[in-house]
């Protein structure tokens, strides 16, 4: 190998390796199980929201597909997992989780062809339309879904027959966190792979991507399907940890909140959804304690303000904060300095 090739090889190898900051993040994440034993219920919601946001980041931040309809996959799998538990079709929650994810992935695959063509507006329309349509179905077939009252009588069996779900949400939180971590690992592999690189390329210039031999549509369908599956798993997690599922899993508000989470956290570097989810939940908790009923108003207000200030500026601030934290991390954790190329998303 020539020196240049060697340098390139070690650079690429270093880039894909886990940074100290990442490791610290996940150690802390798992430590919260013991650090905040009383907060497991809200932490579970946060983990689920983080997984949901991760799924959107894959298509929005990496492949550039604008979607207002991730709730469709979330809700479909949510209801599916509830129904299979209620009627005893699949008893083990972990199995049901995977099955629900696959059902959502199938829906993603089938609808992916609609987002391939057309402009941003068309994609918005189509994704929104699919989500609203599912909401309408759930509403109409209330004899199955429980309609506005929600799905009743859902009993979730212990995971692997061993871990029973408890009232304080301990099992639920650990379960959700583990699922989040596994999905994150998969997403991380995708992002650093040639496939992930091809997504970033086709987001930037799909004309040129095709001109270098990339089957653009196939890649888009693939990532859309994966994203749908992950969103579905998040939805199933919600149903399983709360033993309940209602129409708001398919609502426009849910898709909109998700976009807000990603704006707060930033897109295109995987941790945006996770960090955004944490901040969002904090915000929600705080504002809800002030004005419980009109949370929607303040969400709207924040959206308007963020857009008026400029999303790039907000992203710039969050990037600056991230860089500062990364700087702190590098100082406190003794490791040789890594090559920081401008291509790294930090």
């Amino acid at each position: 190998m020539t020196p240049v090739a060697g340098e390139i090889s070690s650079y690429l190898g270093r880039r894909a390796r886990w940074s100290p900051l990442e490791i610290a993040f996940w150690i802390f994440a798992f430590a919260t199980i013991w650090l905040f034993p009383g907060k497991h219920l809200i932490l579970t919601e946060t983990a689920i929201l983080a997984l949901f946001a991760l799924s959107l980041d894959l298509i929005l931040g990496y492949a550039g597909i604008i979607s207002l309809g991730q709730a469709a996959f979330f809700g479909l799998a949510g209801y599916f997992s509830g129904l299979v538990a209620k009627y005893g079709l699949i008893n083990d929650p972990a199995l049901a989780l995977i099955a629900s994810g696959m059902v959502a992935a199938v829906l993603g695959f089938v609808t992916s062809f609609l987002v391939l063509r057309g402009s941003d507006l068309t994609r918005l329309m189509v994704t929104l339309g699919v989500a609203l349509m599912l909401g309408e179905i759930a509403n109409r077939f209330s004899n199955i879904t429980g309609g506005a009252d929600g799905l009743q009588g859902v009993n979730i069996a212990p995971i692997f027959g061993l871990f029973r779900f408890d009232l304080f949400g301990h099992t639920g939180y650990i379960y959700s966190l583990v699922v989040l971590f596994i999905c994150f690992l998969i997403a991380r592999r995708i992002v650093y792979s040639p496939f992930g690189l091809s997504l970033r390329a086709l987001k930037g210039n799909s004309l040129r991507a095709a001109a270098i031999g990339m089957p653009v549509n196939r890649r888009l369908v693939a990532i859309y399907t994966v994203s749908a599956g992950m969103a579905g798993m998040a939805g199933a997690l919600l149903t399983q940890t709360t033993a309940f599922c209602s129409l708001d899993v398919l609502s426009l508000e849910r898709s909109a909140d998700l976009l807000l989470v990603l704006i707060i956290g930033g897109t295109g570097y995987l941790y945006g959804g996770l960090i955004g989810a944490v901040i969002y939940k904090f915000l929600q908790d705080w504002i809800a304690s002030l004005t419980p009923q009109y949370w929607q108003f303040w969400i709207g207000f924040v959206l308007v303000v963020i857009v008026l200030t400029g999303r790039e500026r907000v992203e710039g601030w969050t990037a600056a904060v991230r860089a500062w934290i990364a700087g702190l991390g590098a100082r406190f954790i003794a490791r040789p300095a890594r090559l920081r190329a401008s291509s790294e998303r930090h």
């Binding site: 020539t2 240049v4 880039r15 894909a16 496939f195 690189l197 970033r200 001109a211 031999g213």
Partner: protein, 249 residues
Amino acid sequence: MPILETKGLEKRFGGIIATNHVSMTVETGARHALIGPNGAGKTTLINLLTGVLRPTAGTIILEGRDITALAPHQRVRRGMARTFQINQLFLDLTPLETIGLAVSERLGLGGDWWRFVGARNEVTREIAETVERFRLGDVMHKRTATLPYGKQRLLEIALAFACRPQLLLLDEPAAGVPEAERHELLATITTLPADVTVLLIEHDMDLVFSFADRISVLVNGGLFVEGSPEEVARDVRVKAVYLGEELDA
């Protein structure tokens, strides 16, 4: 066997005939130039050859096989790559990532989602070779958007080259490149391997006449004159077309 053949290639936009029954042949290993006044339809022809546009009539044959119905990315797999007149690059990626992507796609690794980019030695070797050939070593870690225009143009060609095509279509590679950076660009084009056939669209006559061994002249969408550089340079009709003079009947 010629590497590329078009038979009666035609493209209409409503009432406008942009490409008028073009039947041309590009021999394997040739350095073939396509020239013509502005609006002659040169880029349209390239777009037809690469599949960006669908012809209204005619066929395109690459290495003996009919590719008229193939999509752009499929044509690349068959060995034809192009550059664009106005840079079409991945502005947020670095040259390293850009070339790495093209190499991965070519080796069929584009769909690999499990291994990280650069896990395979042949990939890194090829990236290194291409980076060095196109003198991008000093900028390979910089975001493409921040590169000077000359370097971007080099990357534009490097990207097409990384697809290791049998036929390379260069659409006005020297366009917009400042005088100071032209030399590097021209040196790179003239040192392309002999087994890569090059079809070059250019306005820069110095480059055309020093580089090409065969020239086709396109006027109003149709092939006007074709021949060796000496023949074309001597042809009165070509001069007339370029200078707008009236042609003798």
